[in-house]
Symmetry: C3
Subunit: 352 residues, 3 copies
């Protein structure tokens, strides 16, 4: 905590997917750890995913939360996890993560915790983020033709804007104007005819249409993307409309996202757990923390610890270096950790 | 200064645009600070552009030059600035920046200081860099048709090569041969018919033509670009012609620019204020410092301080680490800070 | 060695080209040093390639191996090198590099050491990596038409797979299926008709065909490329076939290569001499050291020293920081330095 007056407040995690319910064996644990790193198959013979930076982080920070030594053997850790039971182990991990508020993108599939379950387990608060593609799939499961589907989507968006904290979109690129109505109808028709129940839309026209509709509700929209520069047209078109847009790019494009946040007043950028990569690229009040956790409660712990340590180290350096005073450093850290999320998602007004 | 024998000499700033003349209020100050970071609109409600890495840097280094404490409140700083008057405040800031020589890209518009004004205010020397697009616009304001325009451009370039220190071009890409004469004539004709007075050419054919003409004068040419690799054809074609080319890429492409400087004997790269990003990518004698400042005298102070601190830290590390001795470190720092600019822009021969 | 239990074992250099045989004067030495940095011409007047990060590294680490002070003047160093004679100087340098095993991509041209010569000079072991384009050129020099050529290539690949340790390919991109036979025949015919003796194939269809054939032998394949993401289709198609693929991208794409190694069980990535850039991007067991040296024995010394120092510093930080214990750190360093190369190239079984 050197250099920070008062330390970092309980975090607001602006993006995650929830933890699994039941027990996990060594195999599933490793698979889920590997998935978090993007892996598509098993570790090569004689190797293990614990042998990675993420694996070291789990081994360092999670055992103590379950009453073990840091860096104990993975099998020992998983035995202890089973001994406690999934529910109790999950509670200990989530409560030890230091996260006070979760924005959870809940999806139909996957058997992960709902916002209410996550809030209870973590003894915190959880707010729902509605993924547009998931909402469209739910509507499509019951809708008739394209016209009815589009009407029901509009209704569902309006209803969701009353209960959700934000929308989330996955379109990779978007121009400065909504797609023409005829194209949207045609795309919807094609998709409805071809889809199986539960399937989400992959068509970019439909995705952009959903995004434009969601933005019209005035709720903040989270924009998951690879390279955020492909959304520049949309970002520019939304200026001055009173909607906050938050870029969540892939890890290669965090600096580009931060630069766009520096350019546009209504645009913000996710820093994940690595504030050091982007803190020089945008005003401090345009950057937000998230874990992006999915599946393992451990991933919340690791991302939160990484973020807090990186932020403390960075702010400690800045104070030691004369960049700012301790009080200022504390304020900067609090903005990224929680303050900006509280402001743009209106969390202090929300009741969730 | 650890590790540097004799310290860093007065800097040569190889690229900036000058400072504004009059007083600036809090609003304009913040806008200009934001512009320097690329922002297109006001800070979100409840936030300020002082809450950024650039803002912290201004608050740290500029108040002491005006007799205030570092990190004093922005309003206090601006009150002091007004109290001193724009002229005196500008002088104190520019003389405190540690820059001895300025290469100034002066433009017709903007109400910024001329080379002579900047030199007087900073008690240093200032040399003119002629932007090719601005020169073309000035010629076009009085020229008749395409043929006359092209003839006058050639004359103007020749005349400028006698007084200016370098040319500057803004073409994004350029091949290994000049555009065909017929295309150039057609592009010039189109542009002359459509343009309003003062308007600079945006046509790439015209831009490339200007660049080839400027390079033929033998004066160094500064190449502003996004990704410098799109200029590779031109760089290769200019090998062995006795013209030095200096790449000034956007901040994302500094390493690529440095690599091209490593590849071609006659190519150099701007490091801005961040030598640490590129010092390993090219021979030390191929890299040059610049502030890129425009509008606020504070931006000269901040960039120069950032550069000197980064260079001192880097060289201190290298000496402590055994990479080189202190005398060598001092020589390397001096090359990037001033020596290479003095050599390729022939500043010791110049009288400006 | 802080933080590392037992230190780093003798390195396995998974990629280099060998050293020159004869003496080298100051001019050739500088040219070869510059080539290693990608330069295409002489240093500008008044400057020298020793004035670069690579030059400092040579001046720091090589003179002591020849009995001189670190950082002595380049002319002094080269005089000593000549005094000792090329053979003895090469032996002293190579034996001082700390490399126990070399994977050498030997080519027909260039007058560089063969695996046997390198092993003898370095008092280590050396294994041959067969470059596919070179093998094709050798076959083409004696083959008749396209059909005969393709048949002889298949035979040559089969023969090489019995003696070589790995293949190496230079195709920039490759899809998930081999090119159609008719296209391959046509490409081979075109190339055979146009080529001069010794010329290697540049046609991408032929390059991809060679790659698919080489992978079918089961030997590991080294994939030299600019951006490794353009090989993703091929990487995916090779999953589960029992062939290990090692990406050797250009220095700009090391992180992307490491990410692909994290994604695919059978894919590995070269870290060159800079483990710090990629160690967080993939499991530790997916990353391998190499020097990439070509021409000067000094380049082996410099790359090996850089790697060991970076690794020791990184591991020291990790231990001091609580990321892992010293024994773990030693194991991680050993994997990247040698262990993974020993495993995937089956070096303990090999007799070379």
């Amino acid at each position: 905590m050197d250099g920070l007056t008062g330390g970092i407040p309980p975090l607001v995690d602006q993006h995650s997917h929830g933890a699994v319910h039941g027990d996990v064996g060594l195999g599933e644990f490793e698979t889920r750890l590997a998935e978090a790193a993007g892996a598509t198959g098993p570790a090569p013979p004689g190797t293990t995913f614990f042998d990675s930076r993420a694996g070291l982080a789990v081994r360092r920070w999670c055992p103590p939360l379950l009453g073990l030594e840091p860096h104990c053997a993975p099998v020992r850790y998983l035995a202890r996890r089973r001994e406690l039971g999934a529910y109790r182990a999950g509670r200990l991990l989530l409560r030890g993560a230091g996260i006070g508020t979760f924005l959870l993108e809940s999806s139909a599939s996957g058997g992960l915790t709902s916002p209410a379950e996550l809030a209870r387990a973590a003894d915190g608060r959880a707010h729902e983020v509605v993924r547009l593609e998931t909402l469209a799939a739910r509507v499509a499961d019951t809708a008739g033709g394209a016209d009815l589907f589009l009407a029901h989507v509009a209704e569902a968006l309006y209803a969701a804007s009353g209960t959700a904290t934000a929308f989330a979109s996955g379109v990779a690129s978007c121009d400065d104007a909504p797609p023409p109505a005829a194209e949207v109808r045609a795309a919807a028709g094609r998709w409805l005819r071809a889809r199986r129940p539960g399937e989400t839309p992959g068509d970019p026209v439909l995705g952009r249409y959903l995004l434009w509709c969601a933005a019209a509700t005035g709720l903040p929209v989270q924009l998951h993307c690879a390279d955020p520069r492909r959304l520049t047209g949309f970002l520019r078109a939304m200026a001055g409309r009173g909607v906050d847009l938050v870029l969540l790019p892939d890890p290669w494009h965090r600096r580009q996202a931060a630069r766009l946040a520096a350019v546009f007043p209504h645009v913000y950028a996710d820093v994940g757990a690595r504030p050091e990569e982007t803190l020089g690229e945008a005003p401090f009040g345009k950057l937000l923390f998230s874990t992006g956790a999915r599946g393992l409660a451990e991933l919340y712990v690791v991302a939160a610890r990484l973020f807090v340590r990186a932020m403390e180290r960075l702010m400690g350096d800045w104070v030691a270096d004369g960049w700012c005073r301790a009080a200022e450093a504390g304020r900067i850290a609090s903005l990224v950790a929680a303050g900006t999320a509280r402001r743009i998602y209106r969390l202090d007004a929300a009741t969730g």
